[in-house]
Symmetry: C2
Subunit: 749 residues, 2 copies
C-alpha cells in the first residue's frame, strides 16, 4: 500500500479542518495538523488527561503546544500570513504516519526561502514526537529559530470566547539537554511533564526565555545562500497521576537525541508496517473507496489508547468535540473493527468500562436503580459527564437543557452487547469469566430494576431517549426495550454457562451474588418486556410515534438544513428522526428479524431520517446492503468514508468522527462482505458493489488470523497463524486449518 493525502490550499479559515484530518497520534498523545509556522489555539491532546470544567463535568484538556516553530530569516518571519506564498503543500502519509509540509515564501525584502518539514508522533515510543525541518535561502543571512513549549493554551468552553486553561505551570526549566515545562491539572490529579530540544548541526548559542506564555529555545544560525540546513525538534510528553518525572523527560530527550531521527523514524515506520500488515484492506476496482476506508482506519488506529485508563473518545485524540467523552459510539460503532483486527487492544478498551464499573454502580444507585448503569458520557472517572444544561448566552438567561445524560439509557445494554460481540470474535475466556461476565450480569440487574410492570403491556421502560434524540421522554423506545431484553437474556445465558463451567466464571457469579431466583426474574422480564406495536409490519419507534405529524424526505440527503424552518423548530412533534433507531436495532440484532420485516421497516424509516447524527448512515448502509439497495448502501459508504476529508457535517475542526470511521469498516465487513458470526462459524455472504472486483482483508476470528479475498461469486480463505477456523460461504461449511487456503465458489447474489 501507499497512500498519501495532499493539500495545497492555505486558508486560515480551513486550517481547523486540516488540523483534524492531518492529526498525528499514537493513542497516548495527539498533535493536530495545524501548520507549525503559525499560531493556533490547539495544543496537545493527551489521552486520559481530564479536568473539571463548568457544565461539562470533566473534559479532556488542551495541553501545552509543543509542535510550534517560529522562524525568521534576517529578521523577516518565514510564515504564511505575512509573506508571498510561492508554494504550499501538506502531505499526510498514512502508510508511515508522517505529515510533511512544504512552504516556499518570498519575503518583503525579496529573499526566497524554502521550508520543508516532516513530523511524527512515534508509534512505539508513546511519549515521543519529532519535528524535523530543513531551511534553504537564496542568499546569505541570519536564521532565527524560536522553539517554544507554549503554556498559554486553553480549552474553549461552551463558546469559543470563553477559554479554560486546565493546568497550572509548576516549573519551567532549562538544561543542556533542552527545555522543560511541568504543569499540573487544576484538580491536581495529573502531572504533565514536557521536554523539548531543538537540535542543529554545529555548535550554536542558544537563548532560553521563560515568561507567562511558556518556555522557549531560540537558536541563531548564519546560513549560506543555496545551502540546506536541517534541524530537529525532539519532544517528550509524559503524563502521570502523581510522580514528578522531570528527569525521565530529560532522559527520554537525551535518548532520542542520541538515537537520532533516522533510527527513530525507522522504528516508527516498522511499527506502522506491522499495523498495516494486520489492518490493510484492498478493494479491487474502487480506489476512491479504498482511500476513504484507509483514511478512516488510519485515524481510528491512531486513537487506540496505549492502556486501559481511557477508551476511544467520540472525536479521537484529534480535537475537543464532545469534550473528549466516551459514548456508545465506541462500543457499537468503533470497537468491532478493533475486535477483528486488534483484539488484544479491544480487551483493554473494554477494561476501561470494567475499571469504571463501580462508578456505574454508584450511578445506578444515585438514580434509584440496581446493578450498574453506565453514564451516557464518560470521562476518565466513569461518572456521568453529560452536561445537563449549556448556556446560550453570557449571563445564563437562556440555556439548552440536555436530557441525554438522564434518559439515554440504552448505552448500558450497548456495552453488554459489545462485551458479548468481543467474546464471539475472540473466545477470550479469561476476559469474559473475570470481567465481561460481571459487566453483563450487573447491566442485566440494572434493566431488571429499570423496567416497570404495566398490567396491559407487561414490562415497560418509560421516559427514555432512544438513539433518535429528536424525541425525548418517550415510553418504550423500540431500540431500548429490545436491547434491554437482549441484555437480560444474555445475562441469564451466561449465568447458566458460569454454573456449568465453574472456575473464574463461578467465582464472578458468587462475587456479585447473583442467584437462580434473580435469573428467573430476568427471564420473566425479558419474556414479558413490551415491544412496541407493529403496523403493516413497521415497528412503532416508541409509544405514540405513529400519531405524530408525518414528513418524508429524500434518503440521499443529510442533515436538517433542507427542512422548512417550521419543521426544524418542531422536530419532536414530527415523525422525522435524527438517526437509525428501529433500524439500528435491526442492524445489531439481525438474527431476530426476517428480511421482509427489515425491508418494511427500512423503507418506512429511511425516508423519515435526517441523518443529522453521524452515526446514522453506517447502520442504514449495512441494512441497505442486506436488502440489495446497492446504490443507497454505496452512497452512504462513500459519504461516511469521506465524512471528515470532505467536512460533510461541517464540524470536522472539532475532531475526527471515530464512530463513522468504525462504521465504514462495518459497512464493508457486515454489509458488502456479508460477514457474520454464527456460533463458532464465520459466515460470508458477499454483496460487493458492482464495480468492486474483490475485497482482500485480514482479521482474527477466535484466535485464527484469517486472510480473505472476497468476490461476489468466490471466497478465497486462508489461516496464516497456527489456529483453525470454521468458515461458511455459498452454503458450504469448511474447517480451515493452519496455512491452508480454500476457495469457495457460488452464485453471485
Amino acid at each position: 500500500m501507499k497512500y498519501s493525502f495532499k493539500f495545497k490550499e492555505y486558508d486560515p479559515k480551513i486550517e481547523g479542518i486540516y488540523g483534524t484530518i492531518l492529526t498525528l497520534g499514537n493513542g497516548h498523545i495527539g498533535i493536530r495538523g495545524e501548520i507549525e509556522l503559525e499560531p493556533t489555539i490547539y495544543g496537545t491532546t493527551i489521552a486520559g488527561v481530564y479536568d473539571y470544567a463548568p457544565y461539562f463535568y470533566r473534559e479532556i484538556i488542551n495541553a501545552p503546544r509543543v509542535i510550534g516553530i517560529q522562524a525568521l530569516f534576517n529578521g523577516e518571519p518565514i510564515c504564511l500570513s505575512g509573506q508571498k506564498l510561492l508554494n504550499y503543500e501538506r502531505e499526510l502519509d498514512i502508510e508511515d504516519a508522517t505529515l510533511k509540509t512544504f512552504v516556499s515564501v518570498k519575503t518583503q525584502s525579496g529573499a526566497k526561502i524554502d521550508y520543508e518539514s516532516i513530523r511524527i508522533v512515534h508509534g512505539k515510543r508513546k511519549n515521543l514526537a519529532i519535528l524535523k525541518f530543513k531551511i534553504k535561502a537564496d542568499r546569505d543571512g541570519l536564521l532565527t529559530l524560536i522553539s517554544p513549549i507554549e503554556t498559554d493554551v486553553a480549552n474553549p468552553s461552551y463558546r469559543n470566547e470563553i477559554m479554560i486553561k486546565h493546568y497550572n505551570v509548576e516549573e519551567l526549566e532549562e538544561s543542556k539537554k533542552g527545555i522543560y515545562a511541568g504543569v499540573r491539572t487544576l484538580d491536581g490529579k495529573y502531572k504533565i511533564e514536557i521536554a523539548s530540544s531543538l537540535v542543529s548541526e554545529g555548535n550554536i548559542k542558544r537563548t532560553v526565555v521563560k515568561n507567562t506564555k511558556g518556555i522557549t529555545e531560540i537558536l541563531n544560525v548564519k546560513i549560506e545562500k543555496g545551502k540546506t540546513y536541517e534541524f530537529i525538534k525532539y519532544i517528550v510528553i509524559i503524563s502521570s497521576e502523581d510522580s514528578n518525572l522531570k528527569d525521565k523527560a530529560f532522559q527520554e530527550i537525551e535518548e532520542a537525541r542520541a538515537l537520532g531521527f533516522d533510527k527513530l523514524y525507522k522504528e516508527h515506520k516498522e511499527y506502522w508496517e506491522k499495523i498495516w500488515e494486520k489492518a490493510n484492506i484492498e478493494i479491487d476496482g474502487d480506489d476512491q473507496a479504498e482511500k476513504g476506508l484507509k483514511f478512516s482506519l488510519f485515524h481510528l488506529i491512531q486513537s487506540m489508547p496505549k492502556d486501559s485508563k481511557i477508551s476511544l473518545t467520540a472525536r479521537g485524540i484529534h480535537g475537543f468535540g464532545y469534550r473528549g467523552h466516551v459514548f456508545w459510539d465506541t462500543e457499537i460503532y468503533a470497537l468491532p473493527f478493533f475486535m477483528a483486527v486488534f483484539p488484544e487492544k479491544t480487551r483493554e478498551m473494554l477494561m476501561y468500562r470494567y475499571n469504571n464499573l463501580d462508578a456505574a454502580r454508584e450511578n445506578a444507585k444515585l438514580n434509584g436503580y440496581k446493578g450498574a448503569q453506565f453514564p451516557w458520557e464518560s470521562a476518565d472517572d466513569g461518572y456521568e459527564a453529560t452536561p445537563p444544561l449549556i448556556p446560550l448566552d453570557m449571563i445564563g438567561k437562556g440555556v439548552v437543557r440536555i436530557y441525554t445524560g438522564e434518559e439515554e439509557h440504552h448505552i448500558t445494554a450497548d456495552i453488554a452487547y459489545a462485551v458479548e460481540l468481543y467474546y464471539k470474535f475472540t473466545n477470550d475466556d479469561d476476559f469474559m469469566s473475570k470481567y465481561g461476565l460481571e459487566i453483563i450480569l450487573e447491566t442485566a440487574r440494572f434493566w431488571a430494576s429499570r423496567v416497570e410492570y404495566d398490567k396491559e403491556k407487561g414490562y415497560v421502560i418509560k421516559k427514555v431517549i432512544g438513539p433518535d434524540e429528536y424525541h425525548e421522554h418517550v415510553n418504550n423506545n423500540f431500540f431500548t426495550n429490545l436491547m434491554a431484553k437482549y441484555n437480560l437474556i444474555l445475562a441469564a445465558e451466561y449465568y447458566r454457562k458460569a454454573k456449568e463451567l465453574g472456575g473464574d466464571w463461578l467465582e464472578t457469579v458468587k462475587r456479585i451474588g447473583v442467584n437462580e431466583e434473580e435469573v428467573m426474574k430476568w427471564l420473566e422480564i425479558a419474556e414479558k418486556i413490551y415491544i412496541p406495536r407493529q403496523v403493516n409490519g413497521v415497528f412503532e419507534q416508541f409509544d405514540g410515534y405513529f400519531d405524530l405529524m408525518d414528513y418524508t424526505i429524500d434518503p440521499y440527503g443529510i442533515g436538517e438544513n433542507r427542512l422548512p424552518e417550521e419543521v426544524k423548530r418542531n422536530l419532536g412533534k414530527t415523525k422525522l428522526i435524527k438517526q437509525a433507531d428501529v433500524i439500528a436495532a435491526q442492524y445489531l440484532l439481525k438474527e431476530q428479524f426476517d428480511l421482509e420485516t427489515i425491508k418494511k421497516n427500512f423503507d418506512y424509516y429511511v425516508v423519515r431520517t435526517t441523518h443529522a447524527s453521524s452515526l446514522s448512515m453506517p447502520a442504514y448502509s449495512i441494512v441497505a446492503s442486506w436488502l440489495g439497495y446497492e446504490d443507497l448502501a454505496y452512497d452512504y459508504f462513500i459519504k461516511c468514508a469521506f465524512i471528515d476529508l470532505h467536512n460533510i457535517y461541517g464540524n470536522t475542526q472539532d475532531g475526527f468522527h471515530l464512530a463513522t470511521a468504525g462504521g465504514v469498516w462495518q459497512i464493508l465487513f457486515r454489509g458488502f462482505c456479508g460477514i457474520e458470526i454464527k456460533g463458532d462459524t464465520l459466515k460470508i455472504t458477499p454483496r460487493l458493489p458492482q464495480k468492486w472486483r474483490s475485497v482482500k482483508l485480514k482479521f482474527f476470528f477466535k484466535g485464527a488470523l484469517l486472510s480473505l479475498e472476497i468476490k461476489n461469486d468466490e471466497v478465497k480463505a486462508k489461516v496464516i497463524n497456527d489456529k483453525s477456523a470454521k468458515i461458511s460461504a455459498f452454503s458450504k461449511d469448511v474447517l480451515l486449518k493452519p496455512g491452508e487456503e480454500i476457495i469457495l465458489r457460488g452464485e453471485a447474489r
Copy 2:
C-alpha cells in the same frame, strides 16, 4: 513640583503590582505599567466599554494589547527573562505623566544592548498613546522589531484560569500608514478601532503578519556599534457605539506621525501642567506625605472620564478588580476631590448617574419599591451588576452567595448626598435644577417606599447590609437609616426651594409629579425614622449588634489575618466590623453630632474595626483628626497614601484603590485642614500634624478659585479668578474679593 517614582527590581512575581502603579491613562484609555518587552495578560482598558459576562453581569473588557514590543538583536531577544540583566529601571514621572524604562542586557553571545523608552497616554488627544524607544548595541548587527496589536487578550473570570475574550476580531488591515485591528464586543454594542504604526528613521522594509494572535508590524534595521537608534510606536484607540471609524483611526495615526513625538509630548506636558496648576498641593515639612498624596491624586486624575458615559470605577482604568463596576466609592470617597478641583468634570460624573436614572427606576420597580434605587454595582447601563453568586470550583458545587446587590441599599442615599455636596461646592443651579433635583426627589421616593412602619419603633428599614459587610440581613443599620432620613429631608427642602424659585426647578418637580402631600409624608417618615439605640452614648450599629460576641483589636492594624481562625470564620457573629459604619455616618453628617458623642462612638468602634475594606481608614482618619487623635489620624493617612505603592491590601495588581486615594485628599481637606462648607461660607479649622509646617492648595468654592496656605495658627487666602468667596477661620469671617489676599491668624488648637 517634580515627582518621580523609581523602581529597580525586576521580578515577574511583582510585575502585576508595577502594572497597576505604573499605569498611564487619560480617562479614556488606560495602559498598565507591565514592561513592553515581556508578554502579559493585560491589554488595554477603555473607559465605558463593557460586555456581558458570566456571573458579573457586565464587565469592563480587557481590550487588545497595544504597548508590547519584541526586539531581537542578531536574533537574540532583548528581554528580561532570557538574558543577563545589567540594568533595570522604571520611572513614573507624575508631573508630565510619563513612564520611562531603562534596560541593559548582555545576550548569550555576549552583545550588550541598551534599551530606553518613554511612554505617554496623551492627556489631550484621548485616543492617542505613544511609545518612543531607543536601542544601542556594542557591536554591529541586525535589529528586529516586532510591534503587535495583540487580539488574543481576554478577561480573567471568577478564577484566573477561566478567560473570556470579550470581542470578535472583525478586521485586520495594513496600510502604508500602519496596521489596524477592528474588534467588536460580543454583545455587539461597542466597536473598538485600533491602529498603530512603528516609525523609524530611514526607509525600512516592513513585514505585516496577521494571524490568530493579532496583527503585527515587523521592522528590520542594520545597526552600527555604539550608535543609538530611535523608534516611535504611535497608537490610536477609538471606541464608539456604532460607527466604523477605521479611516479616522488611520487618519489620527497619520496626524500623530506628521506632528511627531516632540510636539505631541509638548502638548501632553502642557496639559498636565494645567492639571497640576489646579491640583497641586504642597505639604511643607513632610515630603513623604506629599509624595503619597500626589501619587494618589495623579492616579485619580488619570481615571477621570472624558465624557459622562461612565464614572470613576472602583479600581480606575488600572485593572479589572471589581470588574470595572462603579460603587458608592465614587460618590462618597472619590468625588469630593473632583468637586473642589475639577467641578466641571464632577458634573459629568454625576450625569452618569442621572443618565442611568431610568435604569435605577426600573431597578426599584423590580424590587417592589418606588422612585429610583441605584444599583450597588453599576456598569455602563446602570442596571444592578453585583454577582449574586460566585462559584468556588469548576463544576459549581460550591458557591459564595453575595447579598450586597440585594441589600446594600445605602448607595441610593449616598448618591443624593454627593449631588447635594457638589451643589454646596459649586452652586451649579443649572445642574441642580435640571438633573440633581430629580435624583434627590426620586431617591427620597425610594426611601419612602423602602421603610416599614413598626408600632414601637416607628419607621424601620429591615434586611440591609450597611457599609460594614460582615453583618448581612440586619435591621435598622445606623448608617442606612440616618442617610435615608437625610435623603428625605433633603428632598423636602429642595421641593420647597423649587416651589420658591420656579423655572427649571419647578419644571423638574412637575415632570416627575411630586406634590405637597408626598413631601409631607417624607417629612413624617424622616421624623419618625428609627435611629438605633444609644448605650453609654454609643449608637448600636444595627438592631442586636450589642448582643454579639465582643472582640477588640489594635486600631493600628489592618485586615483579618491577625484574627484567630475561629473568629475569622464567624465574623458575622462578633462585634468586629469590616469598616467605618457608625463612624462613616458621623464623618458624612458631622453637623448632626456633638464632638463628645463622636468621641464615644469612635473610641468604641475603632477597636472593633478590622479595616479589611480599603474605605475604612479614610473615615476613621478624618474623625480621628477632629478628635485630636493625631497619631492615629496620621498613621491612617500615610497607610492610605501608600496603599498601592506598598501593596498594603495585597491586591494592588487588580487595579488602583481610587476610593482610598480620594480619601487621602479628604483626610487632608476635611481632617487636617479642617475645611467645611457652612452655608455660603468656607470654614477652616486647621489641625495639621505636628511636623507639617503648612499646606498649600487650590480649589474652587462656589466658582471662586481659592488659593490657600494653611498653618495651624494662620490661614493665608486668595481668590485667583474673578469671583468672590466668604471664608472663615479662627472665628473670623471675611469676604474675599477677586485678587485679594487675606491672612487670618489665631491660636493653634
